[in-house]
């Protein structure tokens, strides 16, 4: 299985924004598309201004930690490390990097939160239980040209839409694992939730930007098209972690329609960037547990809002979906 050479060449591109219109994103990943469609102002705050909450909420911290841990675990297994050794290495990494931090006096401060479902103990438990549940995982990673297992796959490819620089907009992202699951080629993703796992939970991925993006990517960058995304869902409880796996597929017709719709949304973003006007979408403020910028938007535009943003948020590194992720 090999990646198309032109996609490998594009992977050297590094600036995700247009040279001629610096607030216009040229390389779009699923996350930034999600932000823009949800609310142009939220997109402006998050992607253009790079604002992040000073104290991120536990679901965000937990989700990133378990996702990164499992990504490391799968990478080790794919590279031939024995199961038990991989469990121990990643267990240590999770605890040392997400179980707390050192204060200025050099003392260990454990990550305790008031969230009973998401804390150090549930993080480590979920990791170990996952590795037990899927010990003999039937999803075999694809082998790419040169013998490299298809884990930590960065993708970038042009779409049929011209950007202000005169070349094409790009779709890009990072897939944890491309594997063979029975007769299907699938992209594998991990999701954590406190929702009960069942059809209602998995229905939220149909439709879903990330699933459509990854399936489109699988079809474009691989010689054999991907069937869809295999979601490994983890239900977090106080005293248990439960796992369910489900394949969320997409037909070619649905994906073609999806790409056309994304082109329309990107043109909307282009209008926002050209006019430097990023309207809020007040139909989205309450979704997903409430937008982090909701309180900022309820302040008057101008100085009051800026003061609030300065107090509660801080600028982080540039949002760059073209930056290859080094899993390690």
């Amino acid at each position: 299985m090999k990646l198309r050479p032109e996609d490998e060449a594009l992977a050297t591109a590094r600036n995700p924004f247009c040279e001629t219109l610096p607030t216009m994103q040229k390389a779009w990943d699923a996350t930034s598309l999600n932000f823009f469609q949800e609310c142009p102002r939220k997109y402006k705050f998050t992607v253009i201004d790079r604002l992040r909450k000073k104290n991120p909420p536990p679901p965000l911290v937990f989700g990133k930690a378990i996702h990164d841990g499992l990504e490391k675990f799968h990478a080790r297994i794919a590279h031939g490390m024995p199961h038990d050794e991989a469990v121990k290495e990643v267990f240590d990494w999770l605890w040392e990097n997400h179980g707390g931090s050192y204060n200025p006096e050099g003392k260990w401060v454990p990550w305790y939160t008031t969230d009973k479902n998401r804390n150090v103990a549930t993080l480590l438990r979920t990791f170990v239980w996952y590795t037990e549940r899927f010990k003999d995982d039937p999803v075999e990673p694809l082998v790419l040209e040169g013998g490299r297992p298809a884990v930590e796959v960065n993708f970038v490819f042009p779409i049929d839409l011209e950007c202000p620089d005169g070349d094409s907009y790009l779709f890009c992202g990072h897939i944890d694992k491309l594997g063979q699951w029975g007769k299907y080629v699938v992209a594998q993703e991990h999701k954590s939730t406190t929702m009960q796992l069942g059809s209602k939970y998995f229905n939220q991925y149909n439709p879903n930007i990330q699933v459509s993006m990854y399936t489109t990517a699988g079809r474009v960058i691989l010689e054999r098209p991907a069937k869809g995304v295999l979601i490994d869902a983890m239900q977090m409880g106080w005293s248990f972690s439960r796992f369910e796996r489900s394949l969320v597929g997409r037909s070619k017709q649905l994906l073609d329609e999806w790409v056309e719709e994304k082109k329309w949304w990107i043109k909307q973003a282009e209008d926002c960037a050209k006019n430097d006007y990023w309207p809020g979408n007040d139909a989205s403020c309450s979704k997903y547990g409430g937008c982090p910028f909701r309180d900022a938007c309820s302040k008057g535009p101008g100085t009051p809002r800026k003061m609030f943003l300065n107090a509660s948020f801080e600028p982080k590194e540039q949002w760059n979906p073209l930056e290859p992720r080094e899993v390690g």
Partner: protein, 88 residues
């Protein structure tokens, strides 16, 4: 080592964690490989217990604070490791 110790948390609040015998309060770099392996084994035992009960939480699991794991339970001697000195 005190009973009902309060530790500073990474979200800026203080939280009482009861006795600091909870292994997950400890700096993991202070634990030996063998001690960490015992924690992993204990987690595996709890997973088996959960599966054997048909993926349900047993009364025994309900009675035990699953956020914690006691050092006694793991056979870890508290005097052999240094523990965080949180605010009290």
């Amino acid at each position: 080592m005190t009973e009902n110790q309060t530790v500073a948390t990474t979200d800026g609040t203080d939280l009482s964690v009861g006795t600091i015998s909870d292994v997950f309060s400890i700096d993991p770099r202070e634990l030996t490989r063998d001690q960490k392996d015992r924690i992993i084994e204990k987690l595996r035992e709890r997973h088996k217990q959960f599966l054997d009960a048909g993926q349900k939480v047993t009364p025994e699991m309900k009675g035990e604070d699953q956020r914690k794991m006691s050092l006694d339970d793991l056979g870890i001697d508290i005097d052999e490791i240094s523990v965080p000195e949180g605010k009290s």
